[in-house]
Each structure stands twice: as structure tokens, then as C-alpha cells.
Amino acid sequence: MPEYLVLLAQTHESFRKAELEALAVLENISVDLSSHDEKSPFLYVTLQDDDEAKRLIQRSILARAVYELWGKADSENALHEDVRHRSSSRFEKYKTPSFKFDFISHRGSRTKSQQRDMFESFDYLGFDGPIKMRDPDEIFTIIEEYEPAYHSNTDPPRLSHIFFGRFIGESQRDVVDKYDLKKRRYIGTTSFDAELALISCNIALAGPQKIVYDPFAGTGSFLVAASHFGAMALGSDIDGRQIRGKKARNITTNYDQYKLQSFFLDTFVGDFTHNPIRASFKLDAIVCDPPYGVREGLKVLGSRDTERYADKKPTVLENGDLSHLRPDYIPPKKPYHFDALLDDLLEFAARNLVDEGRLCCWMPTANEDYGERTIPKHPELELISNCVQEFNRWSRRLLTYVRKVREGDDAGLVSSHREKKVYSQVQFRDKYFSGFSATANSVV
């Protein structure tokens, strides 16, 4: 089977493999990604044919392009030797089609004339077809990488890798710019970075004919990302102001902006701990960034004052009206624990995801106390990836779970076997505000 070179973006490295694995699942491609190296922009994969290579990365955000590998080496001379050795049987096939050469350099550069000299050094390929700069039949690409220059600027950079390949297909990396929050009409303080939202939706296997749900939708960052990939997006949030937006700027106008109206299912105002979605309705994926309460303390429906509604009677106003039927009624809310919310989320996912449906959920961690214990678990969900975005004193992780296949008559039924848990009194929010240093006092 032919070998291909996937050129990867040098950003969010810990998400690259998870994204490609997900895309392989979506396209039903079996591929070994074990040689993936987070430090390198290159990944070699063996695939059936060009079509598989194209399909593997056509939705990718973190891959740039894929090439049929014709040769690889650590110097120009060795490269020519490898191309002759590895690919001479291919030369004949490309004798007559139109073509052009392309050049990509990592941590280095070459002048136009140096590039032309390089292109001409490949004259032994014997391509007789016309050279077309626009829309050629084939693009042959030279990709080189230099060693990082750590200490001096005086030494010439040293070539570490050089490749020659035939261009097969491009990724969707350019849509990151299209969805850039700076250009989005309706955003809020909790809007999620467009690139990572798109990656999350790739990992969640968002796609046509599927329903993707974000229970903490805010201004709808994950909804538009899921819809971009053709999924029907459903969102809810306890904060109605964010869901509704303003008259001329809201989630619907964002959908208009991206011309994705047909992929918008609905949004509703609701508290996750009192979710109205019926248990028997199955969702294909859940993608979310649960509120960890840095912007605002985490709140759910309920009252701090446990006695206040003990009689279970509605509040009657002086004029005899029931207060909760007034349009300006604001339901009481109480603080909640982030870990408890995560457990609720996993329980909901186990109940409402289709078999093999995915939950992609972001979780912040203070670096000092991150450990296995911190990752929430559920017997019906298998954790398949744990990608990390590092900040200075903290990081956030994208946890991806797959709903296990339900067996026999048990299908769709999950017993409620939750133990009563005691949640730690110190929350991420407290650590965030105390600079992650001394153990802060709890507010909950």
C-alpha cells in the first residue's frame, strides 16, 4: 500500500492525533497513526489509495495537506537518490499531464532562483507535460524542515528533513479564519475559540444526518461549528440573555452570517440539572464547555434558602397574580459544584447518546493538582482521548467519551446507580482567583 505524508499545523499538537483518528472513523478508514510525533509537522501514513488520503484529511482543521510520498531524506542529494529508488516506477504515469512544482519550508527559506534550481534538479523525472501555474493536473511539492536555531543567528540553519511528494488533497484549515470570533457578529464573554470549537466537533464526529447538542451553548460557538460540518445543532443554556441575544445580533444572525440556517435545529432556555430532553430521545453527539464559574459563579435552579419553597406553593403577589407567570419573572438560582455538574453531564450522556455516540467536553484543571483522579468516569462511557491546551498556571482539557454499545434488552436503559458523592470544597474558580498558589477558601 502506498505511503503518504500528512503535513500538520504546528499548533494544538495534542489534538492532532485525536482529530485524525476521528476523521478515520467518520470515513471508515483503517489507518495506523502510532508514528505521530507532537514535535514534528510530518506524519507518515499507509493508506489504500489517493481517495482514502483525500477523505482522511478533507475535514481536518489541524492537518494542512496530504501528499503521496515519493522520497524522503536528510539532504538534497540523498533525496534524489531516494526518489529514484522508491518512485521510479511512477515516473512514466506522469509523463504527459500538466504539472507544476511547489516548495514549502519549515524554519527556513530559499530565494525564488534557488527554488527554481531545486525544481530543475528533478529533470530526471522526465515530465514532458505542460507546466501550468493555474489548475495543473498534478502538483509536485518539495517540503523541507530545518533544525530549530536555539542559540546563534550566525550559523546557517541546518537542514533536518526534506521530502518530495505528489499533492493529493487539502484540509479545511482555511475555515478557521472564516469562523474567527473577530469577524463573528454575535459573540459574548464565553464565546469559544473558533479553531478549537471546529476541532472539538470533528472529534465528536459531527456530520450530516446527526443531531449535536450543546447544553451550555452560550452564544452558540459549538453550534455553528457542528453545523459547519453538516450536523443539526441543538443548544440550551440557563442564561436566556445569551441564548436570545439582541434583536439584530443573536445566534440566528450568526447562522445567517455563515449561511448555515438549514443546520440550525433549536435553542432553548433551560437548566442542565432540570433538562427537558426526554430520556428516550437519542442524540448523536454532545459537545460543550461546561461553565466552571470563572466569569460567573456556577448556578443551577434552586434556592440557597432551603426553607423558602418548602411548602411547594407558588408565590402570590399582592394583586393576587402568581409571580412565576409574569413575563419578567426570574427563577431563583443556587450555587452548584463543578464536579457535580460534570457527573450530571456524564450521566446525561450515558442516557441520551446513541450507541457509539460521543461526548466531547472541556474541563479546566489547575496544573498543580491534575491527576487521573480528576477525570470524571462513567461505567457506560469509555474515555478515548484527553487533549490538553496549556496556559501558564492552568490548562484545559478536551475529554472525549464514547457511549458503549447497549446490550440486549438493556438498550436505552441505564440504571441509576449513582453513589452520593462528597465534592471537594475547593473549586477551580477559587484556585483561579488565588493564583493557583495557597489553597483558597471555598465560596460554596
Binding site: F268, D271, R278, K313, T315
Partner: protein
């Protein structure tokens, strides 16, 4: 709110969720403040999506909702469709598409048959937040 959504939301009061009466929510009683308003909004037709979503639809509940909104045209049982792209299935899938995805409830109210709590829909967005006395 689309009719598809009305087919998967129930009363969010915890005590109701254990009873069969919490679903579907009913459109049979509307208030003068928030009169029922429906609208048609175009959505690109995807026969595969409708086909894929059909087994997830609670058909008896859909019949109730459609009837309460003035549509008595639905068959009594879930249509059986094997191939979403077969020409003979196009009409039924298009009709379902129109009903489930293109019919918007712009405003109105939904009632839980168990606790009689009313959920309002305004500007197409339903509100499932609960007053203090209905939260456990």
C-alpha cells in the same frame, strides 16, 4: 421552536419526569398574553436526515402535537421507509420535513398534563426554567 423539538422535550419538573403524563407537552390551552403563532421557515430538504430521525420520533406524541396545532393529516403509525432516496418516498419525507423542520412555533405556551405548569415560547425560544416552588 420546531415541531421536531416539541417531540423530545418534556416537563422539566423532576417529580413529573417519572410519570407518563409529562410528555408530550400540550398546546391545547393558550393565553391571551402570548397567543399561539406559527410560521413557515424554509430549511434545505435532506431526505436522509428525516429518514435517520424517524425512528427517534415518538409518533403518538407527534400525532397529539400536530392535532393540537391544527394538523389532522398524519398517518396513525410511523411511516415505514426503506430507502430515503427512492422516488416513491419523496412526498412523505418532504411532508415530514415541512412538518418537523419548517414549522416554527414563534410563540405560545406548552402545558404539562401532570403538574399543569405552563412553559412559554417567545421569539421561537422556549423557556424551561422553573419557578422556585417546582424545583426539588
Amino acid at each position: 421552536m420546531k415541531l421536531l423539538t416539541a417531540n423530545f422535550v418534556q416537563c422539566s419538573v423532576k417529580a413529573c419526569s417519572a410519570t407518563p403524563k409529562c410528555f408530550p407537552l400540550h398546546f391545547d390551552q393558550q393565553t391571551a398574553d402570548v397567543p399561539l403563532e406559527l410560521a413557515h421557515e424554509d430549511v434545505d430538504f435532506s431526505p436522509e436526515f428525516i429518514y435517520n430521525i424517524l425512528p427517534r420520533i415518538d409518533w403518538p406524541a407527534l400525532l397529539i402535537t400536530a392535532r393540537e396545532l391544527g394538523n389532522n393529516m398524519l398517518p396513525e403509525t410511523t411511516p415505514e421507509i426503506e430507502n430515503p432516496n427512492a422516488p416513491e418516498n419523496e412526498q412523505i419525507l418532504r411532508d415530514l420535513h415541512t412538518l418537523l423542520l419548517e414549522t416554527q412555533i414563534i410563540q405560545g405556551s406548552m402545558r404539562c398534563e401532570n403538574c399543569n405548569h405552563i412553559y412559554f415560547i417567545r421569539d421561537s425560544i422556549p423557556n424551561f426554567l422553573l419557578p422556585g416552588h417546582l424545583v426539588q
